[in-house]
């Protein structure tokens, strides 16, 4: 497995991908609580017997106490598809010195989340988006899916095309989702903040359970450059000539404002959000994301 190693697996063991709301989903048996009534071991409630119910489901102890026929109802357990939306735009290719690129981090995160989903019996799928979205891997359960995920991740590349803005990219990704499920958006969210937030909320409004992981490089937060620089963006566009020493404070401030905006807005929208940096422990970020 290229994108998931046993050490990470050990650290991530015990995390659970559980949707917050019980959602009436596919109907296929899985781990999660749903509102539907089905067959599981969890007792939901007693219901008075009515004609047509199976006689197996009559609760005889209740009949003994109350002298009336009650039927036990159990909760149905469902499995959910977990779609991983991986940002493949040019800015993800940025790598600080000595650190892996954000894209690699994103791929590791995608592999870890797929493994978590698959190990609890859910489906895992992969959607890669930059200017247009592509369903790189349809959602399926099973152990073999993990290998497929790994291969699909390795096959992904940073798209060299001129990107559209982030909002339309996420919207395109949302279009590519085949059915409702849990969506984990892995992106660096660099771009138009308001548009991206709107697109993510739209995504959540489609009854997806949205989790957002922001991959960043410490350089983007610290801006460690000095002197006059000709900045070239990885996503193309005109190079920008700045004096790094003068622009750094304002940039850092703007970055912090953007980060706070994302954190606050997503939390208010009820979307789990975590920031993973390439130099740090991404497993902890994943843990924070999943334990909210």
């Amino acid at each position: 497995m290229r994108w998931l190693d046993p050490a990470s697996q050990a650290r991530l063991k015990g995390l659970a991908l559980s949707p917050r709301r019980a959602s009436g989903l596919s109907g296929a048996p899985g781990k999660h609580r749903t509102l539907a009534r089905g067959h599981s071991r969890d007792f939901a409630q007693h219901r008075p017997y009515s004609y047509g119910d199976e006689s197996r489901s009559i609760d005889w102890k209740a009949y003994a106490r109350l002298d009336r026929f009650y039927v036990k109802e159990f909760r149905a357990e469902d499995r959910i598809p977990v779609f991983i939306l991986l940002d493949c735009s040019g800015s993800m290719a940025y790598a600080g010195d000595g650190r892996p690129s954000k894209f690699d981090l994103g791929r590791r995160l995608a592999a870890a989340i797929s493994w978590l989903a698959l190990s609890q019996g859910d489906e895992a799928g992969l959607v890669a988006f930059s200017a247009e979205a592509k369903l790189a891997l349809p959602a399926r359960t099973g152990a073999a899916q993990l290998g497929a995920v790994d291969e699909a991740l390795s096959a992904l590349e940073i798209s060299a095309a001129e990107p559209a803005d982030l909002a339309s990219a996420i919207a395109a990704a949302a279009e590519a989702l085949p059915r409702r499920g849990m969506v984990v958006l892995i992106s660096d969210l660099m771009g138009d903040t308001a548009g991206a937030l709107k697109a993510v909320r739209v995504l959540a409004a489609r009854r997806h359970e949205v989790l957002v992981v922001r991959t960043l490089d410490p350089d983007e937060r610290e801006f460690p450059y000095e002197g006059p620089c000709l900045m070239e963006g990885l996503e193309g566009g005109e190079p920008l000539f700045i004096d790094a020493r003068e622009a750094a404070p304002a940039y850092r401030e703007a970055f912090v404002r953007q980060a706070d905006a994302y954190a606050g807005s997503l939390r208010r929208a009820g979307i789990s959000y975590a920031v993973a940096e390439t130099g740090g422990h991404w497993e902890a970020a994943l843990g924070r994301l999943l334990s909210r």
Binding site: Y94, M231, L234
Partner: protein
């Protein structure tokens, strides 16, 4: 602006170096790959205008700095007229030695001031400089020649002011010629040490000295001056009534001064004179009678009051008048004075007690007593009634006339031809008496004596009887009657003259005495009787001109003559061609030509025609004017130029400071400083407001406030954020994500309605003021949740609390809350307490005013919230596990909701629903 070192100006393009460097730095910028430029672009767009401005200012400051340094290195000099020259200085000093420089301005003479200024200037010269000194008044006293500073100083020291006028133009053109002849490449300067008066500059716009030369002149404050313009005989002055007329002129201010008249060494009179500013006034002085009536000569001076310029307040005069000596009238007998007789007419003529009409005074004497008279006193003897002459009279008269006197002969009515022949020396001989047929007379000669006769009607003068006159050879006939017979004959007798009239004055003989012709006739006779007399002469000259004295034909001219100058010096000059010439007069005064007995004075005065006494300064002199004391600075500025390099260096220093300030990091730039300070001020004001107002709620948000008391007050630092976020999620309470930590003395205590205190070990004992504050807090409505986070058997914290609480709230005690307390129903429906541990059956609380004000739990409720780095729960809940954890979380929420909402869930309206839910849950 002139530059002392123009080669440095070639380096001026270097001042553009900062711009070039700036442009190059753009190219030299390193290329950096960055992930996304959106933020950077936004930041740059916002900061660009300010940054660009700062950049521009910085570059401008650097360029100006470099330019100022380069210009300063080029040694600029401002407004130096001579600064373009090279090394060395050619200086021409022109010292004005005219008499106007003798003006005294109360401290010292102008000449001395100018000379001192010149000598001070000489001290400022460098060793390689050349100086030419010229002392000038109307001309240069010596030609200009180059010398060194010492020679110049000696020349200046030896100069003295003179008595001549000023001609600055001449001196300036001489200086110009000298400078033009000098080699080029040196600085040139001409300094005129004069008074810059208008009188010295005639030519309007005079030639400027050689180009590139600095010309400086002195400027003195304006002085008003008054002077005597002239003192000479008045128009009506004569030997008998000599008068002097003096004219006083003033400039600058009106003047009025007393005038003193000196004749010789004696003061002879005074009067007052006044003149308006810029004009003249006249005064007349009467001279005393001459010492010698035969030679009425006066010489002396007229002195006005001494003012600023004393040289022109004294004027010398030397004048002589035609003498008009008395007349001696000789008559024969007392019947001479009877009416109709000549004496009657003559007495009228000579005044008879009043002013004489003939211009001379007369004494009457009987001719028989003629010896008694001193003939030397008289200029003319009028024999008015000649008959038989007295003994010796004819000879005496002849000798009188030959000595220079005049004889006027009128025949008497009783005179006979024979009597009249006793005077053979007369210019005419008397013939027999005739009775002409026609009357009238006419002048026979043109001359000054008969000049006024034409206006009179001469035809009405009838001479009925007369003697026939036969003029002697050499005599002149001045008047004849109608038939041509001579009536008036005049001729020389020895050195004198005699005049003969043909007819007695008796009215029987002619009516001349009654006619208007009588007076002019008498004057003419008297004039004719006087030998060539000296005319009215005023002997004057001006200083500097030569004096010439010439002898008239009648006088004997000596071979040599001595001239005495006013200062006492005597010069002997030769007389040639009856003329003696004194070549030069250098000082004003009376120059006396002494010739044995006689001495003739000439008055030599200052030349007023040049206007030298007018001390008003010229309004636009052709040089740069400098005050006497400021000559040095003006000279140095003019020749070497005002040194601008100091200013340029100061500008460079200023630019350096500006550049340093601008290139400081952005947070400290002067442009950002006001904004930063405004921000700081605004933030300070806001913080002040925050601490004053009830900011605990941060609006209306719930803030988890934790009390910092003791050492173990914060066992689970991350738990509150989890609690608050869950609270935000589950309920509709608006929360603030940051917890607040305060101490008991914090003023924000009273802005935090919910307070949490945890501890495992006992905190220090509470002080009295802290107790008081806590009591105030609780009684004011605050909710305090105290938790023993040890979770085990009661420890020191428990003991401490049970000790302190009665001190805080003496009236109430800690009591366990029953399971039916509304606390277990405020949000979730709970059966009982839970926490990380579940040891105790109930929580305890202190009731106050109907609510639980202090809640004490010992089950470590917050411990169930603790999470590790991965987000998994840190501590396991015993014994219930995750279910217990869930219950603990619910209890936390309930407590918070209880603190916020109180016991409203205990209201009756909620009871039914709660009961139902409980029942369903139980099943």
């Amino acid at each position: 602006m002139r530059f002392g070192f123009p080669a440095a100006l070639w380096a001026l393009p270097l001042a553009g170096l900062p711009i070039v460097l700036h442009l190059l730095s753009r190219r030299a910028a390193r290329r950096v790959q960055f992930s996304d430029l959106t933020l950077l672009r936004a930041v740059d767009a916002r900061a660009r205008p300010k940054a660009r401005l700062r950049e521009m200012l910085l570059m401008a400051a650097r360029c100006v700095l470099l330019a100022a340094l380069i210009l300063a290195a080029a040694a600029p000099a401002f407004r130096g007229d001579a600064a373009a020259g090279g090394q060395g200085l050619d200086l021409v000093l022109l010292l004005d030695a005219s008499y106007s420089m003798q003006a005294h301005d109360g401290v010292r003479m102008r000449f001395d001031a100018a000379r001192e200024a010149g000598r001070r200037l000489l001290k400022r010269l460098a060793p390689g400089d050349r100086v030419a000194v010229g002392v000038f008044d109307e001309a240069l006293k010596a030609p200009l020649a180059w010398g060194d500073a010492r020679a110049a100083d000696a020349a200046l020291a030896g100069a003295k002011p003179g008595w001549r006028g000023t001609d600055s133009d001449l001196a300036l053109s001489a200086a110009r010629q000298l400078l033009e002849a000098a080699p080029r490449g040196r600085k040139r300067a001409v300094v005129v040490l004069g008074d810059g008066a208008e009188h010295g500059l005639r030519a309007g716009a005079p030639l400027a000295p050689a180009d590139g030369a600095a010309v400086i002149g002195l400027r003195f404050p304006a002085l008003a001056n008054s002077w005597l313009a002239s003192a000479g005989p008045a128009l009506d002055s004569s030997a008998r009534a000599p008068r002097l007329e003096a004219r006083l002129a003033a400039s600058g201010a009106a003047a009025s001064t007393p005038l003193d008249l000196w004749v010789g060494d004696r003061r002879a009179g005074s009067t007052a004179a006044s003149a308006p500013a810029g004009g003249e006034g006249r005064a007349s002085l009467s001279l005393p009678p001459a010492d010698n009536p035969g030679a009425p000569v006066w010489a002396g001076r007229v002195a006005a009051r001494v003012d600023a310029l004393s040289a022109d307040d004294e004027l010398y005069y030397a004048l002589s008048h035609r003498p008009s000596p008395r007349v001696l009238v000789l008559y024969a007998d007392p019947s001479f004075f009877r009416a109709g007789k000549p004496g009657w007419f003559l007495r009228e003529l000579f005044g008879g007690g009043r002013e004489t009409l003939a211009g001379r005074d007369a004494d009457f004497l009987e001719s028989a007593r003629w010896n008694e008279a001193d003939l030397g006193k008289y200029g003319t003897v009028l024999v008015a009634d000649s008959a038989r002459p007295a003994p010796g009279l004819s000879a005496g008269l002849e000798s009188f006339a030959s000595r220079g006197g005049g004889v006027w002969f009128l025949p008497g009515a009783r005179g006979t031809e024979a009597d009249l022949a006793a005077y053979p020396w007369l210019p005419a001989r008397f013939g027999p008496v005739e009775e002409p047929s026609s009357g009238g007379l006419k002048p026979a000669r043109k001359g000054e004596a008969t000049s006024g006769w034409d206006e009179l009607d001469l035809s009405r003068v009838t001479i009925s009887r007369r003697f026939a006159l036969e003029p002697a050879p050499g005599a002149e006939v001045w008047a004849a009657d109608a038939s041509g017979a001579p009536l008036l004959v005049a001729g020389p007798v020895g050195r004198g003259r005699a005049v003969v009239w043909a007819s007695p004055l008796d009215s029987a003989w002619s009516n001349l005495g009654l006619k208007p012709l009588f007076i002019p006739w008498a004057r003419a006779c008297l004039a004719l009787s006087v030998s060539e007399s000296a005319a009215d002469i005023s002997r004057r000259s001006t200083v500097g001109a030569s004096l010439t004295h010439s002898w008239s034909r009648g006088e004997a001219a000596p071979n040599r003559i001595t001239v005495r100058a006013p200062d006492g010096r005597r010069t002997t000059i030769d007389v040639s061609d009856r003329k003696a010439v004194l070549p030069e007069t250098s000082i004003p005064g009376l120059y006396t030509f002494e010739d044995g007995a006689r001495s003739i004075a000439y008055a030599v005065n200052l030349d007023p025609s040049r206007g030298e006494s007018d001390l008003l300064p010229s309004k636009s002199p052709p040089w740069r004017s400098a005050d006497v004391d400021a000559l040095d600075t003006v000279f140095l500025d003019s020749v070497y130029g005002k040194d601008m390099s100091v200013w340029l260096l100061a500008l460079a220093a200023l630019m350096l400071i500006g550049e340093m300030l601008l290139s400081l990091p952005t947070t400290l730039t002067p442009l950002a400083a006001p904004k930063a300070m405004a921000k700081v001020a605004g933030a300070a004001a806001l913080m002040l407001m925050l601490t004053l107002t009830a900011s605990a709620q941060q609006g209306d948000r719930f803030v988890w406030t934790q009390l910092q008391l003791g050492e173990t007050w914060d066992p689970y630092p991350d738990a509150p954020s989890g609690i608050v976020s869950w609270l935000d999620e589950v309920t509709s309470v608006r929360t603030s994500p940051q917890r607040r930590v305060i101490s008991l003395n914090d003023p924000a205590l009273f802005s935090s309605p919910f307070l949490y205190l945890a501890g495992a070990s006992a905190p220090p004992e509470l002080r009295d003021d802290e107790l008081r504050r806590l009591r105030q807090y609780i009684s004011g409505g605050g909710f305090l949740w105290i938790e023993d986070s040890g979770g085990g058997p009661p420890g020191s914290f428990d003991r401490w609390l049970r000790r302190e609480l009665p001190r805080i709230m003496p009236d109430s005690a800690l009591a366990p809350l029953p399971a039916s307390h509304v606390l277990y129903r405020t949000f979730f429906l709970l059966r009982g307490p839970a926490g990380r541990v579940r040891v105790h059956g109930a929580v305890e609380g202190v009731e106050w005013a109907g609510r639980v004000a202090v809640l004490y739990t010992r089950d470590d409720v917050l411990g169930s919230w603790a999470k590790d780095a991965l987000g998994k729960p840190l501590r396991t809940c015993v014994p219930g596990g995750e279910a217990q954890r869930e219950l603990a979380r619910r209890l936390t929420l309930n407590v918070v909701m209880y603190s916020l909402t109180g016991s409203y869930k205990a209201d009756a309206v909620h009871q039914a629903a709660i009961l139902e839910k409980l029942k369903a849950a139980a099943q």
